[in-house]
Structures are given as C-alpha cells and as structure tokens.
C-alpha cells in the first residue's frame, strides 16, 4: 500500500521548511506565459549563470504567475528570516547587480522592487499586498499561483494540497462531498455560470458503470488566460478538484483538455498527473480507500469551438470538433457514449478549498447568487494588466480605475469587451455595475470566463467589431450553415462599413443574418454570434452612422491596413 496521506504531508512540510526557512536563499522566477513573453526563461538562466560566476548559493525555482503580468519578468528573492522581495521588469543586464547585491550582500536593489511579502517588511520597501492590483484580492483558486513550483507536487501538498481529498475520502460520503459544492453555490466559470452542484447531481444520478469528468482548458477566448494561468501556476488544485468531482459523482475517469501547442500548461498538467499517480493520489485504491480514478491530459488541434462541451467530446474521441445535438445531454450520453460532466479549469480549481473549508464558507463570499470570486484577466489599454482574483460584488468601474490603474497616457476609457468575442462590448458609461453573473447578463454583457479587454478613446468600435466577427468567422466549425455562412456575410458587411462603403441597409441586413444565426445554430458560437454587433450598435450607434452616412472613421483606425486569415476550415 502507498504511504498514508499524513506521511506524504510530513515529507512535504519538511521539504517546504527547508526551502522557505532554510539556510539557502530561494529565488523564484515567474515563468507562466506572461513571464515567457517578457523573457523570463532567459532571466532565470542568467540568474543561474551569475550565481555560479559570483560563487553564490541559492535555489532557483520557476514558478507561475503572481498576477502582475504587466511587471514581468518578475523575480522574487527570499533570504533566510527576511521578507520576500519581489522585483519587476527585470532586464537581463540588471541580473548581475541584483544577484551581487541581494544574494551576495543581503541588500535588496530598492529601485527595482515592486513590493515585499511576509511579516518582516521594513519601512524602506513597499508592501506588495498594498499594490492596487493586490489590495482587494482574495485568492482562492489562485492561492498558490506564483508561490509554488508547479512541477513539484510536494510544494502543493505543503500548502494544504490534497488535504481536502483525504478528508473527503476518509470522512465524507460522495453525497456529502457533493452537498458541500451545492451549498457553496459555485457556478461554472466557463461562460454559462451554471451551478456546479446541480450539474454534478445530474451525473451522480446515473447508475452507469463508466462515467467521465472532463476539465476544459481549451480557452480560446482572446483576452482570457486564467485557465492556462492556473494550470501553469498550480496544476495540483485542478487535478485535486477533478478527483473530488469524480468522488462526488461516482465517476472513475477524467480528462484535462488543452489545445496542442500550449506547452507550459500541458507539461505542467502532465507532471501534476504523473506525480499524483506516483504518490497514490490517482489510480486504484486512492490513499488506501476503495476509490479509483484515472486522469489523463487530452489535446486538441486549433479550434475555438472545441471548447464547447459536445465539440470537446468529439475532439477527445479524435474527430472534428463539431457540436452535437442535445438532447441527449452529456450527463446521459457524453464522451465515448458515457455519462459525462464538464467543468472549466477555474471551476475545478475552487473545489479543493470548498471541500476543505466548507460550502458555507464559500457561499459567504461574493454577491447574491454569484458566490465566491471572479478571476479576471485584464488586458488592452490599462496601466496594470494581468490576472486578479476579486470577490464578486466589486464595482466594475473600481476594477478598471483602481485595480487596473486606469487608462495610460491620461486618455479616457471608451468601452470594454468582456466574456470572450461572443460577449460583446460595454460602453465606459455602462460599467457602473458590480461583478455578478446575473447583473452582467441583465446589462447585456457576459462575465463568463473573466476576460476584460479595455479600449481607450483612440479605438474605433466598428473596427474592433470587425475583428471580433473576423475571429468568429475564422473559428466557425462549419457544421451549421447559418453560422458558417452568416459569419462570412457579416464579416463582408463589416469590412465594407470599415472601408466607408457601407449603405444604410447594411445594419438591417446584419440584424437579419444575426437572427438567422441565433435561430439556426447548434451551439453558442452561432447563437451568440450577433452579440458583438448588437452590443456595439446599442452603445455606439453614432459610430456606425459616421462610417455609413458621413463616410468617415472618427478615430481613423479603420484606415490602418488590416490583416486577417483568409484560410478557414475546409
């Protein structure tokens, strides 16, 4: 029999103690996608070389994302008994001085410091928790992101990982575990915000011998990177969440579904799964109980629609990612014809904490029917871009002005685009609403996956609408012709309007196409496909008028030559 959970836990605690409170300095470099894009891998390599060159000893770990992506590459240094010092925008040429001063002489390089973490922060350096992006954060799903090495399961366990699984397996019946999730009010973070507990009940109610849990990390939404961010930063919480979902619903098989080519999330998810098998946290008789669960990572090719639940099943089965008819619903007939439950990465990432701390605790956070937190990806024209986890109920204007630091260059915010390309736009004047799935929906927007793209006054809303529809056209899977043809036609019309060749009839034409798409498409891609145009028309009718009637683009953006893929699915 494998070691008991508490033996593993003790080992993990010992290792963590050695890392976090041992004699050797510990350097952590953020190497999630954001870090990589800023050159963090090279920074980590150069740190290693400098340590050798200067004859200094330190451990270097590649960790995930602390959330302040705008300040990548970020390097944080922990000296024994001192506060953790987090540096931002670290250039390769600054590394020698950083290593010599901080590791060599114990002197932090003050001008590069973003903030410090820990109890021993002196007066001379800022507290990272007071940073505008951090001060209102409440991290549940992101609790370990940026703190642990995602390739080391012991670090996850040392910070409380797998305690929830152990507790569920030894102290709770599957029904009790499910009830905690139900009590928590957790709603799906993939887009539809459907209550996870209700969804799990559908699957738990099936007596079939083989049932599946799918975890969706397809995340093709431009402007959303939190699923990949979580998998890269803390794959353990996702793996544990999936196993717990399996236990609560009586399923024994699971898949984590990621797009081929996103090597960071793929490698880290695979490592987390392999290590969980090694420690007896996956496989047969988990932790000495009679519960068995198998989990693997499945890859898809480039396809946005493969993030739709039934198309995802087609891709796992190895076919074209095209949606299926419903009914039958996945809980009856899902992947490989077996009852199946699908949740998004973010949804799964909450589950361990919900089981560990109780559904009541989670339900106490948030706003009305939107319990817990929102994991937002802030991008576009904002000062602080990155990934934040805020309790539901915070006002969106405050998120944009305070948390994200407003628009750079003293410019005005014009609109935001939320919930992926199908979510549409919200004018700046309409952002006075609180983070809440239902309030967003009532305002005609989708909180969905949490992507928020901000656009300043220099942005042309017609031009951006064209880009959104170009995306939707490129990604239409082609199964339902109202979507396949409709997207192409709508794009033609929008391109014509951007060339200032549109006619007043074009708006009615697009409405007509949009209505047909909504009525005649199997999945949300076609059903919601008119959203970007409809919302832009609702908030900015005068912009369209300027292009169509006055034959001018007020921002001039439509005159910039644009490129979009000509190739589509054959």
């Amino acid at each position: 029999m494998a070691a008991s959970f508490w033996e593993i836990r003790d080992q993990a605690a010992e290792r963590w103690q050695d890392l976090a409170a041992g004699e050797t300095p510990w350097i952590r470099v953020g190497t999630a996608l954001c870090g990589q894009a800023a050159g963090a891998e090279q920074v980590a390599d150069v740190i290693q070389q400098e340590l050798e060159k200067q004859g200094l000893k330190a451990r270097v770990s590649r960790v995930g994302c602390l959330g302040l992506c705008f300040a990548e590459p970020m390097v944080d240094v922990l000296l024994p008994g001192r506060a953790r010092v987090v540096y931002g925008n670290v250039g390769l040429d600054q590394v020698p001085e950083l290593v010599a001063s901080h590791i060599g002489r114990g002197q932090p390089v003050a001008e590069m410091v973003v903030g410090c973490l820990g109890d021993e922060i002196g007066d001379d350096l800022p507290d990272l928790q007071q940073h505008p992006m951090k001060v209102r954060e409440q991290r549940i799903a992101l609790r370990n992101a940026g703190h642990i090495d995602p390739l080391d399961i012991y670090q996850y366990i040392a910070r409380g990982g797998y305690e929830a699984l152990n507790r569920a397996l030894t102290e709770m019946t599957p029904a009790e575990a499910l009830e905690e999730v139900n009590t928590s009010g957790l709603r799906g973070r993939g887009g539809a915000a459907f209550p996870a507990g209700t969804k799990w009940r559908f699957l738990a109610g099936s007596n079939a011998p083989d049932k599946y849990i799918l975890c969706n990390c397809e995340e093709g939404d431009p402007g959303a990177f939190n699923d990949k961010g979580i998998l890269e930063s803390d794959p353990g919480t996702v793996v544990e969440g999936i196993i717990l979902a399996g236990y609560a619903t009586g399923a024994n098989h699971g898949y984590i579904f990621i797009r081929h080519g996103h090597d960071g999330p793929i490698d880290r998810a695979r490592a987390a799964v392999a290590q969980a098998y090694e420690l007896g946290l996956l496989g047969e008789d988990i932790l000495g109980t009679d519960f068995t669960f198998d989990l693997e990572v499945a890859l898809t090719g480039d396809s946005y629609v493969s993030g739709e639940e039934t198309a995802l099943m087609e891709a796992i089965e190895g076919s074209r990612a095209m949606p299926r008819y419903r009914p039958p619903f996945p809980a009856q007939v899902g992947v490989f014809g077996k009852p199946t439950n699908i949740n998004n990465v973010k949804t799964m990432a909450y589950v361990p904490e919900i089981i560990a701390r109780g559904g009541e605790w989670y339900a106490g956070i948030g706003h009305e029917q939107s319990t817990g937190t929102a994991i937002l990806c802030l991008s576009g024209t904002l000062n602080y871009t990155g990934m934040v986890e805020l309790p539901m109920g915070i006002n969106l204007t405050e998120v944009l002005q305070d948390v994200a630091g407003g628009v750079p260059g003293g410019k005005q915010l014009s609109f935001i685009q939320t919930g992926g390309p199908l979510g549409g736009v919200l004018s700046a004047a309409a952002t006075d609403l609180v983070l809440d799935f239902d309030i967003f929906r009532a305002a005609g927007a989708i909180l969905g996956s949490g992507g928020i793209i901000a656009a300043d006054e220099d942005t042309c809303v017609v031009d951006l609408t064209r880009v959104l529809i170009a995306f939707c056209q490129y990604e239409s899977c082609g199964k339902c012709f109202p979507c396949r043809m409709g997207m192409s036609h709508m794009l033609e019309v929008l391109e014509r309007i951007c060339r200032l060749e549109g006619t007043p009839d074009d708006l009615a034409l697009m409405r007509n196409i949009g209505e047909n798409m909504q009525a005649g498409s199997l999945c949300g891609h076609g059903q919601l496909g008119f959203n970007p145009v409809a919302s832009a028309l609702r908030y900015f009718p005068e912009q369209f008028e300027a292009h169509i009637v006055d034959k001018r683009c007020p921002t001039g953006r439509c005159q910039v030559p644009h490129f979009s893929p000509r190739l589509s699915r054959r």
Binding site: L33, A37, G223, F225, S319
Partner: protein
C-alpha cells in the same frame, strides 16, 4: 536518421497516453515531422482502423495541420482583439514586409512561415508574437521586423 516511414510509425505507435485516437495520432506526427504527409494519413488510418477519409476529415479541420514540409522557421503573430487594440496590425505589416510576404504563408524559398494566431495566451503583454515557439511580448513594428531578420540571418550563417 530514420526514413520518413519509420519516423511516422514510431510517432503513431509510441504514443505515451492511454487514449489513442485519430487526432492524437496526427498530433504525434505533427510533433515529430512538423507536417502530415500522405504516408502519415495512411498510417494513422490503418493504426486507428479508420478510413483515409476519416483521417483526412480531421487533418483538414484543424488549421494547425499542414500537409507540406514546414519551413525552417516559424513566426506567429496574434491578431486577436487584445493585441489588435494595442497595435498588432502595424506589427503584422512590418513582419510581413521583413519576410517579403503579402499575407500569411510560406516564403517562396521555404525559409520562413508567417502565421496569424488568434490568441497566444499572453494578452497582458500584448501585442504578442512568437518566433520558433518562443513568445515575445510588447512587440513593436521595429522589434517584429528585427526578429524576422534575426532568424533569417541565423539560418544563412548555418548554410555557409
């Protein structure tokens, strides 16, 4: 070095994961060769007890699959909304010009592929491009153009 047929067989037959499908087999070939030759379509069909048609349906659906050998280098540029808003289009134009292309595709000499990507996943550091799978954030037209020249020069040196 193994011949094409051996490399395809090895990729298709030695997949480490439990669930093996047409798609997973094709992705394994793509990882090995960088493209899906006709021989691979046949092998994947035989291995998965499927028809050539079944396999071709999958190849033709996912735009990451190409059916001709890859160029030596690959540059991807994001044209998604986050990147578009902060200046992706001038970057695309500069990269295309540096590559001597008018639109996405391969250079005639087979040295460089330029592809548009809908989202490379580092939106907070937009505009984003990738050079031989290495992400580069906050890229400007000048930077994009320089990166293309750099990869093209590195290959010239090797050829000499």
């Amino acid at each position: 070095m193994d011949g094409l047929k051996q490399r395809i067989e090895k990729a298709v037959h030695c997949q480490p994961q439990t669930t093996v499908t047409i798609l997973s087999s094709l992705l394994a070939v793509e990882d090995e060769l960088g493209y899906i030759p006709r021989e691979a379509v046949e092998e994947v069909a035989a291995f998965n007890r499927a028809t050539i048609n079944d396999v071709w349906a999958v190849v033709s659906f996912y735009p990451n699959f190409r059916t001709v050998p890859p160029c030596e280098h690959k540059v991807e540029i994001c044209w998604g909304p986050s990147c578009h808003l902060v200046g992706a289009m001038p970057v695309v134009a500069a990269v295309l010009e540096a590559a001597g292309l008018e639109d996405e595709g391969d250079t005639p000499d087979g040295r460089l592929t330029v592809r548009y990507n809908t989202c490379l996943g580092a939106c907070a550091l937009a505009p984003v491009m990738s050079v031989d799978h290495q992400l580069v954030g906050r890229v400007t037209p000048q930077k994009g153009s320089a990166l293309v020249s750099e990869v093209l020069e590195s290959q010239e040196e090797r050829a000499e």
